[in-house]
């Protein structure tokens, strides 16, 4: 075993590091929807111009075709330089794009893939519904075939960036007679079509990262269906399994930085006794040490996972372990942050501001819910990894 990079990998890392340092956006990311769209697409265009767009994409689709180790390096460097994680180009690059590569027609790919890579289109996801959360396949947004169009009626929820997206990967029910996994269709939805109403959802942290999307007789051409009518569940499942890759590394690097920030904060902030700095409190110090160790082990787990993926090339349920640990850790760090903050817990902050621990605390609740609840992850680990009965 070793943690060493080969000479070429070291060279690659230096190249990435230098390029990122020279080209990463320097301005503060705007807060408003239009500003975010412009900023994120601009950064994507910069990456395209620099030859770094779609690092995980095969070269045949214009991507970087990087190896897993190179992706790991890219994401570590990316996060280490403070670049934000969830941006408007994420769904297109890591979700919709890969699905299109696997399941879309030649025309669909030719039209959409370059637009994603070049930073010309923002994608969003339209999977969850108010009554279809953990039980995604019970979705009810209805699509009726009318001539060469699908007519959509219903509602989606938890759609990030729906308000600035050009396209949506949309799951609809085209047949309600069979089992719930049958009769689902995966379609590309142009977000500017008439009948689409996007409403932002305010979260408990106060931000509005998510939207509800309402569909009132929205007409999508049948040519926008990916795969075949009724085969959408298998298309969607291929998307989900693609999602859990090396990109996770960036989360882990960011989390490590959050812990180091919290340690620094605990040195400066008065502790519970009002006399010594928080870090001098035995309990706070130990809890800080524990999360620091836990984040280190999450990194090791991520590395092991990537080494595993290099050998076997199948993602497997390890992604659920990483997600579960990550969620637990975020919440543990957030709760610790609140305890260090002390009576300042009464003041609303945003996790984006320096020492915005109160905001981070409320934000962290999303981590064990979104993208599959921790309960679902534990089921997956128990059943698929350990072979426990359902």
């Amino acid at each position: 075993m070793d943690l060493d990079f080969t000479d070429e990998q070291v060279e690659f890392r230096d190249e990435v590091r230098t390029w990122l340092a020279e080209n990463k956006p320097r301005e503060q990311r705007p807060d408003d929807a239009a500003g975010i769209r412009e900023y994120d697409l601009g950064w994507q265009r910069t990456q395209w111009d620099g030859g770094w767009a779609g690092i995980a994409w095969p070269t045949e689709y214009g991507g970087g075709g990087l190896s897993l180790t190179q992706q790991l390096i890219w994401y570590e460097e990316y996060a280490a330089q403070g670049l934000p994680g969830i941006d408007a180009t994420f769904v297109g690059l890591n979700h919709a794009g890969p699905t299109l590569m696997t399941r879309a027609s030649e025309e669909q790919r030719a039209f959409h893939l370059p637009r994603i890579l070049r930073g010309e289109a923002v994608w969003c996801q339209g999977f969850s519904e108010p009554d279809a959360g953990s039980d995604l396949a019970s979705l009810r947004t209805r699509a009726v075939i009318d001539g060469d169009e699908l007519v959509i009626n219903g509602q989606k929820i938890w759609t990030s960036f729906a308000n600035i997206a050009d396209y949506q990967e949309l799951l609809v029910r085209t047949d309600a007679t069979g089992s719930k996994h049958e009769g689902i269709t995966w379609a590309i939805c142009d977000m500017r079509l008439p009948g689409i109403d996007v409403r932002p959802i305010t979260t408990i942290e106060g931000g509005a990262e998510f939207c509800e999307v309402f569909y009132d007789d929205v007409r999508i051409p049948l040519s926008s269906v990916v795969g075949t009518i009724g085969d959408g569940w298998s298309v969607a499942m291929s998307t989900l399994s693609f999602e859990r890759g090396t990109a996770f590394t960036a989360n882990q690097v960011r989390l490590a930085k959050i812990v180091e920030d919290l340690i620094d904060f605990a040195r400066d902030h008065l502790g519970p006794d009002g006399r010594r700095p928080a870090i001098a409190d035995d309990q706070i110090a130990r809890r800080l040490a524990e999360v620091r160790a836990a984040v280190a082990s999450l990194r090791a787990m991520t590395y092991v996972g990537i080494c595993d993926a290099m050998r076997t090339d199948t993602p497997g349920p390890r992604g659920s372990m990483l997600k579960l640990v990550y969620a637990d850790l975020c919440k543990e760090i957030a709760a610790l942050g609140m305890d260090i903050v002390g009576a300042d817990a009464l003041r609303r902050t945003s996790r984006w501001e320096p020492n915005g621990w109160v905001g981070y605390y409320y934000y962290a609740f999303s981590q064990s819910i979104g993208g599959g609840t921790s309960e679902i992850q534990r089921n997956i680990i128990g059943e698929r990894m350990l072979g426990l009965p359902r």
Binding site: D131, I157, A343
Partner: protein, 342 residues
């Protein structure tokens, strides 16, 4: 020995609940979120007329002369409905005024025409019979003529005008308003020493009662959701991950409610271990309310993460109450310093 609410007390809770549901629905918190005050003045006065501020006040001061366990039950009910406004500070404020013999002020507070906000000392400072000094968090000071400043030694009423340069701060709890002010030597207008009346312990018990009420409401909210929310063809409450989470919430809520009632009786009757019991009530209820708040968000999934859902309002209120009448770590230190309970 009796630790269950009497029919009288049940009637009291029912009356308060009715009023709160009809006049102070939780939705009002969101509607007033951008208002400088969390308090609807009309509803405040109506609540005062109903006796919400004077339950434990002697009858000669216009109160109902009820005991602390009644007040505790009322404060649990107020919290269950997330009633906004400085009920705690005003209730205690009326008591200070009354015990200081200031009938007009006690009456004005009790009638709801004079509001008392809460000032919590943050960091070094001093709270004495004549003056106070330090940096204070002001909670729901908008429209308040006085601020209640409590310490273990005694409790002061200080005119709001004595706090210069009040700086509003964004409050994490949308149902409360927060501000900060630093005073060099503000004059105390009324002072009630702890030997006369242990107001710090009363405040501790009432904060614990509020936290217990939150823990209880959260249990109910989660349990109802677990019965109604269907995923994979069955209510999510069939799954142990949800069922056991609800069971744990119910236990935490019951523990905190039992202990705060026990503590209320101890403080009321001046039992020797009253301080221990009050601190224990606060510690247990703080953990229950915050734990149940976190669990409720998780049980509700994405829905629980939205501003539109009530779960976070309860959690945020829990964090607010946790920092009144002693920081959580302080409360633990105090209760460990006490002798073994009776």
């Amino acid at each position: 020995m009796d630790l269950l609410p009497s029919q009288d007390q049940l009637d009291l809770i029912a009356a308060a609940s009715d009023f709160l549901e009809s006049r102070l629905p939780i939705e009002g918190i969101r509607q007033r979120a951008d208002d400088p005050s969390a308090v609807d003045p009309d509803a405040w006065r109506e609540g005062a007329e109903l006796g919400l501020l004077t339950l434990g006040l002697d009858e000669e001061y216009g109160g109902s002369g009820r005991l602390l366990d009644d007040e505790a039950l009322l404060f649990a009910t107020l919290a269950e409905h997330l009633a906004p406004g400085p009920y705690l500070a005003s209730t205690l404020g009326a008591r200070v005024a009354a015990q200081c013999g200031d009938l007009p002020l006690a009456t004005a507070i009790g009638e709801g025409s004079t509001l008392v906000g809460l000032a919590e000392l943050r960091g070094d400072g001093c709270i004495g019979p004549d003056s106070i000094k330090g940096t204070f968090d002001l909670i729901d000071h908008a429209g308040a003529a006085y601020l209640l400043v409590a310490s273990r030694q005694g409790t002061a009423l200080v005119r709001a005008t004595q706090f210069p340069d009040i700086g509003d701060l964004p409050s994490a709890d949308p149902g409360s308003r927060l501000a900060t002010a630093t005073v060099d030597a503000a004059t105390v207008s009324h002072w009630l020493p702890a030997e006369t009346d242990p107001l710090w312990l009363r405040g501790t018990v009432l904060a614990a009662a509020g936290l217990a009420g939150l823990a209880n409401a959260l249990t109910t909210m989660s349990t109802e959701h677990a019965k109604l929310r269907v995923q994979f063809g069955r209510p999510i409450g069939v799954h142990q991950a949800i069922k056991h989470a609800c069971a744990d919430m119910a236990v935490a809520a019951d523990a905190s409610r039992s202990q705060m009632l026990f503590a209320a009786v101890c403080v009321q009757s001046g039992r020797e271990d009253a301080a221990f019991q009050a601190y224990a009530a606060k510690a247990v209820a703080t953990k229950a309310a915050i734990g149940n708040g976190a669990a409720t968000i998780q049980v509700h999934g994405g829905m629980g993460y939205t501003y539109e859902h009530n779960a976070h309002l309860y959690l945020k209120r829990a964090h607010l109450l946790a920092h009144l009448f002693g920081e959580p770590a302080e409360v633990l230190a105090e209760l460990l310093d006490q002798g073994a309970p009776q």
